[in-house]
């Protein structure tokens, strides 16, 4: 990477100007605001400005990512007020820790990591444990009372899955939300959850039979 600068005073001496760049392309963000092209500044520019106290720049980032941040929180927590609190706290934490970002272009992944961490701790603190306590390593019990199934059939497959997700551990659930619902890669999910792609695959593999079991009435 080239890195040099041109200083005003030295310009007359024909100082060369180089470009320091990671040749980065702007990360596609799912809910980029529509607006005049001139105002659609890239994340890295906004992060640098916000870090220097430009509140407007940070507000643009909040508006750009509010949908994804809230949606991730809402899908992990399944409780709109708690998700709103978590999303708010995630942005405030991001603002406080902007100086910790190493690669400004990677703002989105960094923000999602903060969001998921907060959502998981909110989940643990309110102690919404799986309805059927299951160790991550164990296989599901095969038999359950028919009651829930009848209820499940009545109000739809998606609703049944939403309930079934409560049977997962917080970590399994976060994996399911990020990989299967947000469509992230194993690597992205692993980086957000501070783990390895292999561990993510493992959690999904253990989550699948539990969820499939809950959806048995639809087979």
């Amino acid at each position: 990477m080239l890195r040099a600068r041109q200083t005003d005073g030295a310009a007359a001496a024909g100082a060369a100007l180089y470009v320091a760049s990671s040749a980065h392309t702007e990360g596609p963000s799912p809910d980029r605001e529509r607006g005049p092209a001139a105002t659609a500044l890239d994340d890295a520019t906004l992060v640098v400005r916000a870090r220097e106290g430009d509140v407007t720049a940070f507000e643009t980032l909040v508006r750009r990512y509010r949908v994804t941040v809230y949606r991730i929180a809402a899908r992990i927590l399944t409780d709109p007020p708690a998700a709103a609190d978590t999303a708010q706290e995630a942005f405030i934490t991001a603002w406080r820790r902007l100086h910790e970002i190493k690669a400004e272009q990677a703002f989105a992944a960094w923000l999602y990591r903060i969001t998921v961490t907060r959502a998981l701790s909110a989940m643990r603190s309110r102690a919404v444990r799986p309805l059927v306590p299951l160790d991550e390593e164990t296989t599901p019990a095969l038999d359950r009372a028919p009651g829930p199934e009848e209820r499940a059939l009545a109000d739809g497959l998606a609703a049944a899955l939403r309930r079934a997700l409560n049977h997962l551990t917080p970590e399994q659930r976060a994996c399911w939300v990020l990989r299967e619902m947000e469509g992230m890669s194993y690597e992205e999910v692993a980086s957000i959850l501070h783990t390895t792609p292999g561990a993510v695959r493992g959690r999904l593999h253990r989550a699948r039979p539990l969820l499939a079991q809950e959806l048995r009435p639809w087979r």
Binding site: A23, V55, P140
Partner: protein, 183 residues
């Protein structure tokens, strides 16, 4: 027939992840079409795949006041920025915060076609007749734009804005091109 989805592999050697991925994308291969274990596993996970897609497609209603709530907490917590004295006829005095000045100077940088101003560090010693320390500005330049002429135009625009809008005469302006952005 029920198969054990929790095992590493089905009795035929296929992995459940492969079948799961295959439900999401392509057509099953010949083995899967003919294999009773694979078919049994598919029957067990198909509703889960459908449910996941349905749930993921459901719109999420984001609270409209989220940005306002965030900014209401952040705003009051911003520490005050240093001030720069603007030369005016005595006995009047005028000062401007470096943060406010930076917003004006970044906007001047942005006004140059293909340029986005990023970091803008203005030190009090950077202004005035005996200015020595530099204004440090980093910019991103649109791909294909000659960086040297872009930097020259930025310097002109920033200097002019400082004078016209802030009443400040800047010392040396140090520009660093730190990124290239797509058109």
């Amino acid at each position: 027939m029920a198969v054990n989805l929790a095992g590493d592999r089905l009795p035929c050697g296929h992995r459940v992840d492969q079948l799961w991925a295959c439900l999401g994308s392509g057509a099953p291969d010949e083995h899967v079409r003919a294999c009773e274990y694979c078919q049994a596993a598919l029957a067990m996970i198909r509703p889960l795949r459908t449910a996941t897609s349905e749930l993921a497609a459901q719109p999420v209603r984001v609270p409209a006041d989220l940005p306002r709530r965030v900014m209401a907490v952040i705003g009051p917590r911003i520490p005050p920025a240093p001030r720069i004295a603007v030369p005016v006829a005595a006995p009047d005095r005028l000062a401007i915060s470096v943060r406010a000045a930076a917003m004006v100077l970044r906007a001047a940088g942005d006004s140059v076609e293909g340029v986005r101003a990023r970091s803008c560090r203005l030190t009090p010693a950077a202004v005035g007749p005996n200015a020595s320390a530099g204004l440090k500005l980093t910019i991103s330049v649109r791909y294909g734009l000659p960086a040297l002429s872009a930097a020259r135009a930025v310097r002109r625009a920033v200097r002019a804005a400082a004078r016209a809008q802030l009443g400040l005469t800047l010392g040396p302006i140090d520009i660093e091109v730190v990124d290239i952005h797509a058109a």
